[in-house]
């Protein structure tokens, strides 16, 4: 007697057990603590918070641990948690002008008010493996140079703004921004919606698209006007109070790209902006985001849309890690029924094809 394949329940349970075992690894090795992840894997935590769109270092660390270090999986865990949270309040716009800066650089001016501050950066490290770290030794902790945070300093774009050489900051617009977690995406999308989507988008996707604009696919002559990293206060206005109250501070990385623009019917030649913002120290993503933001403004600025990075539907609808990873991996699910349908169809087509060929060779044989 044939017994159809059964045992889905048991198979799933076993798979989960194996997964837990693999996550833990060799039990002779001490278990990873969330504090360790939170304090020593900070850039992983930053990325998971950014693409998970939830600022919570503890939960991000938990997600990374649970996901065996797979950041996409961790992002997914955090998102699926975030989506169930009640919306208690909406914060006031972040005043990144008042950022307590630990890093601030501009590629456009050699020196400027506030100065250039390298801060903690890989930029000028030699990428040589440090075997001292491998030797289990406590990594040498250098003396902090100057622990005092810097004074808030003016933005590079504000300096250009004074001269009228750059388009005015669009933040002056009071329109209520859309909310991509509460409204379905509809195209064409406005800039607020685009920026939100980019902020959650996969870093690799944005990096590649931003890179493509540098290589001539929608060239926009970018300059890194300013990159700043630091902490900023988050404020809400409780209804019962009616004035802003600080509820804490978060670390962000912000990038303003300055791009050439030759002018159009309504606007004079001037510099335009691309904007990027991430949680934590996500500088590379903030830069990529700024490049792509600028590329996506082609329609608004009356530029020809010729390259992938300018194609709003293409860029926005394929950048979400959770969406793309889920749908790609759904190919693992059974498709017996669809495949069976195709199998029946191909067999029939094949039979017809063979019959035709036989008929033809028969004709030739008679000749």
């Amino acid at each position: 007697m044939y017994v159809a394949v059964k045992g889905g329940e048991k198979a799933i349970d076993t798979a989960h057990q194996l997964l837990a075992e693999q996550r833990r690894g060799d039990t002779a090795v001490a278990e990873l603590t969330l504090d360790q992840i939170k304090n020593q894997m900070t850039l992983a935590v930053d990325r998971v918070m950014t693409e998970g769109s939830l600022y919570d270092r503890d939960l991000a660390a938990l997600a990374i641990k649970q996901a065996r270090g797979d950041l996409m999986e961790a992002i997914f865990l955090l998102r699926a948690y975030r989506t169930t949270l009640p919306r208690l309040a909406t914060t006031e716009p972040l005043e990144t002008d008042a950022l307590r800066i630990i890093r601030r650089i501009s590629a456009t001016f050699k020196d400027l008010p506030g100065g250039q501050v390298l801060g903690p950066t890989f930029d000028y490290t030699h990428r040589l493996l440090d075997f001292a770290l491998a030797a289990d030794g406590e990594a040498p902790v250098p003396v902090p140079a100057d622990a005092a945070p810097l004074e808030p300093c003016p933005r590079v774009t504000a300096l250009l703004n004074a001269e009228g050489l750059i388009e005015p900051d669009l933040a002056a617009d009071d329109a209520e921004p859309g909310d991509i977690t509460r409204e379905p995406p509809l195209y064409p999308a406005d800039r607020a919606v685009r920026l939100q989507t980019l902020a959650r988008a996969d870093e690799g996707w944005l990096l590649a698209l931003g890179y493509s604009t540098q290589r001539g696919y929608a060239k926009s002559h970018p300059f890194a006007g300013e990159i700043r990293i630091g902490s900023v206060d988050v404020e809400i206005i409780p209804e019962e109070l009616g004035f802003p109250v600080c509820i804490g501070s978060i670390e962000v990385a912000e990038c303003e790209m300055i791009n050439q623009f030759k002018g159009s019917k309504t606007t004079p030649p001037q510099f335009t902006r691309g904007y990027g913002l991430t949680f934590g120290h996500g500088e590379r993503k903030a830069m990529s985001m700024a490049l792509v933001d600028r590329a996506l403004r082609a329609r608004e600025l009356g530029e020809d849309i010729t390259a992938p990075a300018q194609d709003e539907e293409f860029v926005l609808s394929h950048g979400d890690t959770v969406e793309s990873s889920g749908f790609t991996q759904h190919l693992k699910l059974p498709h017996y029924v669809d495949f069976q349908s195709e199998l029946v169809a191909v067999r029939a087509l094949r039979a017809e094809y063979d019959a035709r060929r036989r008929a033809r060779s028969g004709e030739q044989g008679e000749l």
Binding site: M1, Y2, V3, A4, V5, K6, G7, G8, E9, A11, I12, F76, R79, A80, R82, T83, T84, P86, T181, R182, E183, P184, P185, L186, Y187, P188, E313, S317, V322, E323, S325, G326, F327, T328, Q329, H330, L333, P334, H335, Y336, V337, D338, Q340, S341, E342, L343, V344, A345, L349, E352
Partner: protein
């Protein structure tokens, strides 16, 4: 609140209300894709998040849920989704089509006819039937609004020109209520006739694409075709090896590495019912032996 620390049926009540509004609109305009703000779910996109959100929004404690994938209740993803609702909604689950009030499905419609007391929830990967001819949403929305569906027939024309008959076998496009072109989700075209004038409410959820659409009870659903090449469903020369059914969708099972194969019902509940009632296929066993075998499991 259930023991999971999440709201009943996972989603918060505001989200459920938002989804119900989308469902109401979908029912009011049969076949029209209603955009909704789909949420991240704890299951991956492409694995049924649209269907799960629809089910979560409509399910209540009095409901009995059946979940099938490829027609079967025991495929892993069906098990996983059924467990999810058992855990978060404390809902009764069943494998019996006749007992279910809500049936969530991926890729099949049960063989047992549906009733007015049932709601079908389809998991939809790509809700846009025009997507393969026109990838742009801005353009396809316009095509739906203007009922510009000629291009869909171009595809069918091309099939006939090339193969002599329409070669689309699943996710076969349908016209709902003589107005909207609709993707029935990747069910085999064998199931398309069941969509037409069904007594059950049929809801379609696409989570990643954030669309909900519906076919209300007793709505005409017509599979596209040509007058001289009418719509046809798949037929098999064989019957189900276990229950002998000749009227059901059959899965092919490879039995050895020498080309041996058999056909069995894709709808495991239907097949089981038939066997319990004494129908025996060429490789099946009689009802008593079947009862003993299933009891032993």
């Amino acid at each position: 609140m259930t023991d999971t620390g999440y709201n009943y049926a996972y989603l918060d009540e505001q989200t459920k209300r938002m989804i119900r509004r989308a469902i109401l609109k979908a029912v009011a305009v049969p076949g029209y894709q209603v955009p909704f703000a789909g949420r991240e779910m704890p299951l991956p996109y492409g694995w049924g998040t649209g269907g799960i959100q629809v089910t979560a929004a409509i399910i209540g404690q009095d409901d009995t849920l059946k979940v099938i994938d490829q027609g079967a209740d025991d495929t892993t993803n069906a098990v996983s989704i059924r467990r999810f609702f058992a855990r978060t909604a404390a809902v009764k689950t069943t494998e019996k089509t006749v007992e279910a009030t809500v049936i969530q499905t991926r890729h099949r419609i049960p063989e047992t006819p549906l009733t007015e007391n049932q709601i079908m929830v389809y998991q939809v990967p790509i809700p846009e039937p025009l997507r393969w001819m026109e990838p742009r949403e801005t353009e396809t929305r316009k095509m739906h609004a203007l009922q510009e569906y000629g291009v869909m027939h171009v595809k069918l024309y091309e099939d006939i020109a090339r193969f002599g008959h329409i070669a689309t076998t699943y996710d076969y496009p349908v016209m709902v209520n003589d107005r909207y072109l609709m993707a029935p989700s990747p069910i085999p075209k064998f199931d398309n006739p069941k969509l037409n004038n069904s007594p059950a409410l049929q809801l379609f959820g696409a989570g990643r694409e954030k669309r909900i659409y519906a076919v209300p009870p007793y709505t005409p659903v017509k599979s596209l075709d040509f007058t001289d090449h009418p719509f046809e469903v798949q037929r098999w020369d064989d019957c189900c090896a276990l229950c002998g059914a000749t009227d059901s969708f059959l899965d092919e099972v490879i039995t050895d590495d020498k080309g041996g194969r058999m056909y069995v019902c894709s709808d495991s509940d239907y097949c089981g019912d038939r066997r319990a009632a004494g129908h025996v296929g060429p490789q099946g066993v009689d009802a008593d032996a079947y009862q003993r075998a299933t009891a032993a499991e």
